[in-house]
Symmetry: C2
Subunit: 225 residues, 2 copies
């Protein structure tokens, strides 16, 4: 499959690396590819440039160019910048396509847990679907840290549960197939239409506080019946 991923952070890199190694044709999109490749992390973490050394088959391109001809687009940008990023990708590249939205609209605050830039009466998933009405938006994977997305079985106590929300049944089926067959997810709950994205997005308010309590992002939640 030809897959375009917007976003060069942990989520974008994790998904791009995994999908490329699984044999897919992956392109990563960013606002300005030259700028991203020259960037060094202020905290000394590896930049995209260092990551890209191991993935010569994953080209980095400007947003609109990266998405050209892609069958599936994965939004892995920071949630508060997703609408802007996808606008640069452009409707022409999104119309009719499966658009997997993995983002969280965390508005970070000094010395306090982040709040959500959109919540309760709306969600990022819905905002994206409204902005690009012909894209087939599926919200998923936002409730787990990047390492889990492509390796859901990494916890000794078992797999977390993962959720999907979206208006297009065929697009959701295709995404559920990818979650199962490519990534290895076992417990997938289809919550319903895109308005149900409010649930997994607001769940992140609990998620950040559990991280604070258990002192590691390596945890998950499993639905028990």
């Amino acid at each position: 499959m030809k897959i375009a991923i917007t976003g060069t952070g942990m989520v974008g890199r994790t998904l791009a690396g995994f999908l490329s190694r699984a044999g897919h044709s992956v392109t990563v999109g960013t606002r300005n590819a030259i700028e991203t490749m020259s960037r060094t992390d202020p905290n000394g973490k590896p930049g995209f440039k260092e990551w890209a050394v191991d993935f010569p088959n994953v080209p980095l391109k400007d947003y609109s160019e990266a998405a050209e001809g892609a069958e599936i687009i994965i939004n892995a940008t920071h949630g508060v910048k997703s609408i802007e990023a996808l606008s640069t990708v452009g409707s022409a590249n999104l119309d009719g396509k499966v658009l997997i939205d993995t983002a969280n609209a965390f508005a970070y605050q000094e010395g306090a847990a982040p709040v959500l830039a959109v919540a309760n009466t709306d969600s990022l998933g819905e905002q994206i679907q409204r902005q690009f009405p012909k894209a087939r938006v599926v919200k998923t994977l936002n409730t787990v840290g990047a390492p889990f997305m492509v390796d859901p079985g990494r916890l000794p106590e078992g797999q977390p549960t993962i959720f999907v929300s979206g208006n297009d049944g065929d697009a959701k089926s295709q995404v559920i197939q990818i979650l199962k067959d490519l990534f290895g997810w076992e417990d997938i709950v289809d919550l319903g239409d895109i308005t149900t994205a409010r649930g997994p997005e607001m769940f992140m308010s609990l998620w950040v506080r559990v991280w604070g309590a258990v002192k590691t992002p390596l945890f998950g939640f499993r639905l028990l019946k």
Copy 2:
């Protein structure tokens, strides 16, 4: 222990019945005890009057009278009415007391999932703590249906995880003891101060949608590490 419970719905009844049978002195508070005892449910469900027949040791009183002399107050009113109800209970009955807040501020909407009357930048737990600064508020149990609160082991797949939030460490320890020893909760996560109540309260946005997806309120979420 002398325990006052505000609210005569499913949560109030479940907690009152269980705690009374466990040998505690329980009083239930309502806005107008005479009115509550004369009420019949418009949907034909048993009213408080019918429930009370089985619990002659659990008196129903007006809010302020019910809370007189109680060591612990449990808020089991509907979240959007909790502040009003607790104001009727009165600071004199709440100051210095452990106040367990189990409520969710669901604002119900015709034909759509409920939104939260408070979320993201504030929470019901915080509102209650601000309104009654000398009460020792502990938010807990709001993330599970009433039957789980006093019987956490009822799911074949295991116990859900439960959360506590609050500013007063001693109050939280006391509540954790009650959760463990009285109700049987095994997996309890202390999220931190009362601002962390935003997490479990916003989680309910996911909870109502999972209910819609799995078609039963008999489910829970377990923290996996």
